[in-house]
């Protein structure tokens, strides 16, 4: 979230210890403080809800607590004076009702992102509040009264128990979910939706599951507040309260359970203390606002993050970066040449076949009738000057372009109709920028995009293959070169037929590129796929690629065996701009210029009216 580097999580046992302590302490508190504590627990559950959608899944949705209102009303309605459903059960029913509400609230998030989502969800908050104030929702009238549970205990202990047991249960749920495929996919979409889809994660499903679970949590919390306050007064869900909870969630780092716990305790205790001291509760609110702004500017200052850093220091784990990394020298690899026939004698399909790919961005033709093939067992290089269209080609092939003409076949099957995350089952790509998920370990990261049925042993082997020794340190502590290699590893766990690797050697030193070359060269044979490598580093290309395709101004100007292509004068001209060669090659372009067409192959920048490159 906003570039936050995270520290490894505290286990479930810590939660249980904390829970036992809180429950025991409850017996020693006065009824006033038991009540405060109970409210705090409910707010902590709101924290879990906000933390899940915002802290983990990275979606700026402000309406979580307002969904809690709906849970509150359900509970009030069910439990109310009629007493149909006794309290613990009405809570669960209310929480379940929260699921479809949460899904509905999540719908805007499928198409809207970032600021737009914040604006719409702010509107949702206001609508819910308005409707509640108008008194039209059953159970929202102030007259509905819910008796809080006592369980035959003194003071507010019954309520206290109910609330804190709820928190423990739900926090435990979030801890378990976080390590599950769902939780990993939430972290993935927070980091980069593109990268997530490129790993085969359905972004839609990830978002909806996040909202569904968050709705469940928020509605449960809302129900608890009703139990505590006795009625479902809409003023508990007014926009200021909702925004204050959000600010607190940011300040405390509610994406982690400790942050949510801190949110609840801070909120409840500070209100109570301020009240006791005769000070205005606004003071607390103002402080939370300042805290939130500080954390937004400096994500490491979030409360839960600081706690985790301390814990990690105390347990004094050895950092992975202490160990020096060995670099492999390059030994030439025998490319046996993939068998071109299948067992039954028919022709083996190509790993990747692009035919007549044309991409237009408005009036600019970024790719013009490009065709290339990547056979199994081979490494094909894709080279060309900046702006030649290489990234566009990868985007089109892997499903990140809205429209293109031409056909893309992987393993003989046409994939043009498939969305990006489905294409990721058979063709994978890396990105030029680091799109790994810093919080995850190498093992978790590779597991995220792995094909079904991949064993832990296979994952470890792949991690070792790309040159990483440490499987259980979070990625943000690892060298950036290793992260890049792991990005390639994450592609391989998907057992794709074709892998497109985008500028893997950028910024690497000579020795590091040779090490990379050694590993890349082994991939096709070992993993039974075809490899397409985009590179500018000609040395790497010479070492690794069996054939080359050269793009310039969106067109293929040369294709064939590496050595031959690199010796061609028009290729060196494309790079070096040899005057004579350039004139010959670009004659066509010059003619176009005289006839008034723009020869620029630049992809146009964002439209006017969308400032700041948005």
């Amino acid at each position: 979230m906003f570039g936050l580097k995270r520290v490894r999580g505290t286990p479930l046992s810590a939660l249980l210890v904390v829970a036992v302590v809180i429950l025991v302490v409850g017996f020693a508190l006065s009824p006033y403080w038991q009540y405060v504590g109970a409210v705090g627990a409910a707010e902590a559950i709101f924290g879990l809800s906000i933390g899940l959608v915002y802290g983990q899944a990275g979606m700026l949705s402000l309406c979580q607590p307002a969904i809690g209102a709906i849970g509150a009303w359900s509970v009030a309605y069910l439990t109310g004076e009629q007493g149909w459903v006794p309290l613990p059960w009405s809570l669960i029913i209310g929480a379940i009702i929260g699921i479809p509400i949460g899904l509905a609230a999540g719908m805007p998030a499928l198409r809207l992102r970032r600021v737009n989502l914040a604006i719409v969800t702010l509107g949702v908050v206001i609508v819910i509040y308005t409707v509640a104030q108008a008194g039209q929702v059953a159970g929202s009238q102030q007259s509905a009264y819910v008796k809080s549970p006592t369980f035959d205990l003194a003071g507010y202990m019954g309520l206290y128990l109910l609330c804190w047991l709820s928190f423990t249960l739900l926090a435990g749920l979030t801890i378990v979910l976080r390590r599950s495929r769902w939780g990993l996919s939430w972290l993935a979409i927070a980091r980069s939706e593109r990268a997530a889809a490129a790993m085969g994660i359905s972004v839609t499903r990830a978002k909806l599951t996040a909202f569904a679970v968050a709705g469940f949590l928020a509605a449960w919390a809302g129900g608890l507040l009703v139990a505590g306050f006795g009625s479902a007064d809409p003023s508990n869900f007014d926009p200021v309260v909702v925004l204050t909870l959000f600010a607190l969630a940011v300040m405390m780092g509610a994406g982690y359970w400790e942050g949510a716990l801190a949110l609840g305790l801070f909120s409840a205790i500070s209100s109570a203390l301020l009240q006791q001291w005769g000070l205005t509760p606004d003071l607390g609110t103002a402080l939370f606002a300042i805290g939130a702004i500080t954390v937004l500017g400096k994500p490491e200052a979030a409360f839960s993050v600081m706690i985790r850093r301390q814990v990690a220091k105390l347990s004094s784990r050895r950092a992975a970066t202490d160990e020096p990394l060995e670099l492999r020298p390059f030994s030439p690899v025998v490319f046996k040449g993939a068998t071109s026939r299948l067992a039954d004698g028919s022709d083996r399909p190509l790993a990747l076949e692009i035919s007549n790919l044309t991409v237009n961005f408005g009036a600019v033709r970024a790719l013009d009738d490009v065709s290339l093939t990547v056979p199994y067992g081979e490494v094909v290089g894709l080279v060309g000057p900046n702006g030649a269209g290489k990234s566009t080609l990868v985007d089109a092939t892997t499903g990140f372009l809205a429209a293109y003409s031409g056909v893309v076949r992987v393993d003989g099957a046409q994939i043009d109709a498939l969305p990006a995350f489905k294409r990721a089952r058979i063709v994978r790509r890396t990105f030029q920028q680091d799109r790994t998920i810093g919080e995850l370990t190498a093992e978790e990261y590779l597991r995220l995009g792995a094909a079904p049925g991949t064993t832990a042993k296979q994952i470890r082997e792949i991690i070792e293959f790309v040159g990483c020794r440490d499987t259980s340190t979070p990625l943000h502590s690892l060298d950036v070169r290793l992260r890049r290699l792991l990005m390639i590893g994450a592609c391989l766990t998907g057992r794709p037929k074709a892998v497109l690797i985008d500028e893997p050697a950028a910024g690497l030193s000579a020795e590091e590129s040779i090490d990379l070359a050694a590993r890349l060269a082994e991939i096709p044979e070992r993993f039974g796929c075809g490899l397409l490598v985009i590179e500018h580093d000609m040395e790497l290309v010479r070492l690794v690629c069996t054939s080359l395709v050269v793009l310039d101004f969106g067109k293929v100007i040369a294709a064939g065996a590496t050595a031959e292509v690199l010796a061609r004068p028009d290729v060196t001209a494309a790079y070096l701009g040899d005057d004579v060669a350039a004139e010959t090659v670009l004659e066509e372009v010059a003619v176009e210029e005289y006839s008034g067409r723009d020869t620029s192959a630049d992809v146009p920048a964002s439209q006017v009216g969308e400032p700041h490159g948005r």
Binding site: P108, E193, R194
Partner: protein
């Protein structure tokens, strides 16, 4: 119906002025300033303090309020420039959400739930239109809001400083490389928008409640109007604001009157969904 429409001009003018500022800040500075209403309201409260503590008249206390508004804007602008200069639109907007929370807390303190007489600059003679008495002040206000939109556009298109702002909004890095003082201009726009918001809120104060939060929520209505202009066109935003004000006022006495606060939300959702209907990957990271 006409009477209600004309009665809606007062709030319509306020929404229009705030909407123009929202669009201006989004275009020039890359932030959706959700704190705008709160900023204006806080400064407006300064005028009321002036009346209470120093016994200033309505005129001087208004001037003080506007200066306070500009100051609040400058302070927040400095904060943004210092810590969030190269941050994303989302991050900056989230900061304004936190700022709103903080300002509401402070503003609540100042108002403290009691009733005050705000200096009312718009009480005065009325004019007969379609058989209803419309205070001249409201007409002046609406006209002023539209003139604001036009004036800002003229400034941006016609002056050197305006060209610098437009350049900055398109390519802030390139603008800096040409010697344009990006940070100073950013702070100046914050101050200007905040001062306008102060005036806008002071206009509506005499007719509104005495609790702070609704003043801060005015910005949501302005946001709806700004979205009608697709966050780009100030004149459409201004006209939209007036229309939303009138619509609100028409709807008020009827059966769904209690839901008027939901009106801008409906606008917001419709515009958002239509505007972004074909986006799949273009906005995704």
């Amino acid at each position: 119906m006409v009477a209600e429409m004309l009665a809606g001009l007062v709030s319509g003018g306020v929404y229009a002025a705030l909407a123009v500022c929202i669009v201006l800040m989004y275009q020039m500075l890359g932030v959706v300033n959700l704190a705008l209403g709160a900023m204006g309201a806080l400064a407006a409260c300064m005028s009321l303090l002036c009346v209470r503590w120093f016994g200033l008249g309505p005129g001087p206390s208004t001037v003080v309020a506007v200066l306070c508004g500009a100051l609040i804007g400058v302070i927040l602008g400095l904060l943004m420039v210092r810590y969030f200069l190269e941050a994303s639109v989302e991050l900056r907007t989230t900061v304004t959400i936190a700022v709103t929370v903080g300002i509401i807390a402070v503003g609540d303190r100042i108002l403290n739930g009691a009733t005050y007489n705000f200096p009312n600059l718009f009480s005065g003679p009325s004019v007969e239109i379609f058989g209803t008495g419309v205070p001249i002040g409201s007409l002046v206000e609406v006209v002023a809001a539209v003139l604001l939109a036009v004036g800002v556009q003229v400034f941006l298109r016609g002056t050197h400083l305006g060209a610098q702002l437009r350049a900055m909004s398109e390519r802030p890095i390139t603008a800096g490389l040409l010697g344009i003082r990006v940070r100073t201009l950013t702070v100046a726009v914050w101050g200007f928008a905040s001062a306008i918001a102060t005036i806008a809120v002071m206009v509506v104060l005499p007719t509104s409640t005495t609790s702070f939060p609704p003043l801060a929520y005015l910005v949501i209505f302005a946001l709806g109007a700004a979205l009608l202009g697709l966050m780009r066109n100030m004149i459409v935003a201004a006209v939209g604001g007036v229309l939303i004000g009138m619509l609100q006022s028409i709807v008020q006495p009827s059966g769904i009157g209690r839901y008027t606060d939901a009106v801008p939300f409906v606008v917001i959702v419709l515009v958002m969904v239509w505007w972004r209907r074909s986006d799949v990957w273009s906005e995704a990271r």
